[in-house]
Amino acid sequence: MRIRARGVSKGFARGEALVSKSKISFLGDVDAKSGVIVDRKSDIYGESVANKVLVFPSGKGSTVGTYVLPQLKKNGVAPLAIINERTEVIIAVGAIIAEIPLVDMPEVNVFEILKSGDIVTVNATEGWIEVE
């Protein structure tokens, strides 16, 4: 099933989804060395975002969080791609500088059709996602 979405940070990736309904602040909620979610209130606490298609509603918190995305990339533990319900500046800019494909505003509610472990393709250059 191909779902249209808005491409925010260009690129293409295919991988396993990690789905969270919590907003994420990359400064503080994610360990930059390991990519593990350290925010105890998160519904994916203890999981690693490394090499996953990370699906979450939006970002929150300090704008310094932007810089954590390229750091994750450098440490080899960045997500393969990001799908947001509606993205915001901290995450969008972080994805652009880290060259992580990011789409938002998918035409259907992704939380209803996607669960962690599903294989997803994200094409942020053309603006679509595909769930296998």
């Binding site: 260009k10 930059a32 704008t63 310094v64 932007t66 810089y67 390229p70 500046v89 969008a92």
Partner: protein, 377 residues
């Protein structure tokens, strides 16, 4: 968003840094529904202190090979570049901070290291800007009538490189209309600013009625406090600010009193969040003459330019035991962390010191701050 041919070319630039900066502006424009980019007069870039942006920020800034194309100012860093030893800054920290400053210098950013760029260069009403420091943003919009959204350090840098910013939010006149009428009850407007920020809903712009006429410096402290407890980036003040008459008076009305705060006996009294003006330096000197020599740590923060212009005044304040530092402030410098209780006359510093520097903070008026500094422990 509409892009000109020249702007589209920048998205294909062989320089990766320029391409990224343009992609950032387009993404931000799309997120906020901007119709186009507009040219800016200046940019002001935050995220300078190593204590705040850390290794992640440092690495990214050093990786960039770009030059700014408009006047660009830099926010304060983690210490006074000349008097870092007196502030107790460690060599390893200093090296990291200097790498950040050098990275900005290579890009052509002016090393103003101040949160008050409006004391350095003339900013005019209706100028479009891309400023990041929240207290400078609210000052420019409210007190000068210039137009800027609250940028992040990176979006301000991207705007500085391209010379443009997405046209949305406070760049558009009709988005600058007040949405709520606010009556200030308290005596201290910095504390009232903190409280107002907590009371405002997202996106609201207050039209403020003060109970007496505030000085320009009081308005500065009020705005800085307001912007520290909310995302509010503009206020109007009846009879005081340049655009207050341009819109209808909002129907919704609220009253705001002073914010409450913890009390502690200060081992550091810190003034200059935002950086003090010449008038504030004069006032501090007058108060020191009235109350006598400094017996506790009294640190005053200002821009290097104001410090150089007021060198006599600074010398006299220092002869009485105060220290006047530049390039930094109590909120962004790790130097504040070694104290038990920091007394401030700034609502913004009162809000941020416990969060960012993990120290207790207490509040007093400027006069009370100076008086406390002259008391025995």
């Amino acid at each position: 968003m509409f892009l000109t041919k020249e702007e589209e070319k920048l998205l294909e630039s062989p320089n990766e840094g320029i391409r990224k900066c343009m992609e950032i502006l387009v993404a931000v424009g799309e997120i906020f529904g901007a119709e186009k980019l507009i040219e800016i007069k200046s940019a002001q870039i935050s995220g300078v202190s190593y204590s705040n942006i850390g290794e992640a920020g440092l690495e990214w800034l050093e990786s960039l090979d770009v030059k700014v194309t408009v006047d660009s100012f830099l926010n304060p860093a983690g210490f006074d570049l000349e008097r870092w030893k007196e502030m107790g800054i460690e060599e390893s920290y200093r090296e990291k901070q200097l790498r950040i400053i050098r990275a900005f210098e290579r890009m052509g950013v002016k090393l103003t290291l101040t949160c008050t760029p409006y004391y350095l260069e003339e900013i005019k009403k209706n100028d479009h800007l891309a400023w990041a420091e929240s207290s400078a943003v609210i000052y420019a919009n409210s007190i000068i009538g210039a137009r800027t959204n609250r940028e992040s350090g990176i979006t301000a840098l991207a705007a500085a490189v391209i010379g443009k910013t997405p046209y949305y939010g406070l760049h558009i006149k009709e988005n600058r209309a007040p949405t709520v009428l606010v009556k200030i009850k308290g005596e201290n407007f910095a504390l009232a600013g903190l409280e107002l920020g907590k009371a405002l809903k997202e996106g609201e712009i207050p039209l403020v009625e003060f109970n007496r006429k505030p000085s320009e410096e009081e308005l500065k402290l009020f705005g800085a406090a307001l912007a520290s407890t909310s995302s509010c980036s503009m206020f109007h003040a009846v009879e005081l600010t340049p655009e207050w008459k341009d819109f209808e008076t909002p129907r919704e009305k609220i009253e705001v009193d002073e914010a409450e705060f913890e009390k502690c006996s200060p081992d550091l009294i810190a003034i200059g969040c935002p950086h003090v003006s010449k008038r504030e330096l004069e006032k501090i000197y007058e108060l020191l003459k009235k109350y006598g020599r400094v017996k506790r740590n009294l640190w005053i923060f200002t821009s290097r330019k104001i410090k150089d212009e007021c060198s006599n005044l600074v010398r006299k304040i220092e002869e009485l035991g105060g220290k006047v530092f530049s390039d930094t402030c109590m909120v962004v410098s790790p130097a504040s962390e070694k104290f038990n209780c920091v007394m401030v006359n700034s609502g913004k510093a009162l809000e941020y010191l416990p969060k960012l520097r993990k120290v207790n903070a207490t509040f007093a008026s400027l006069e009370e701050c100076v008086r406390w500094a002259t008391l025995e422990d």
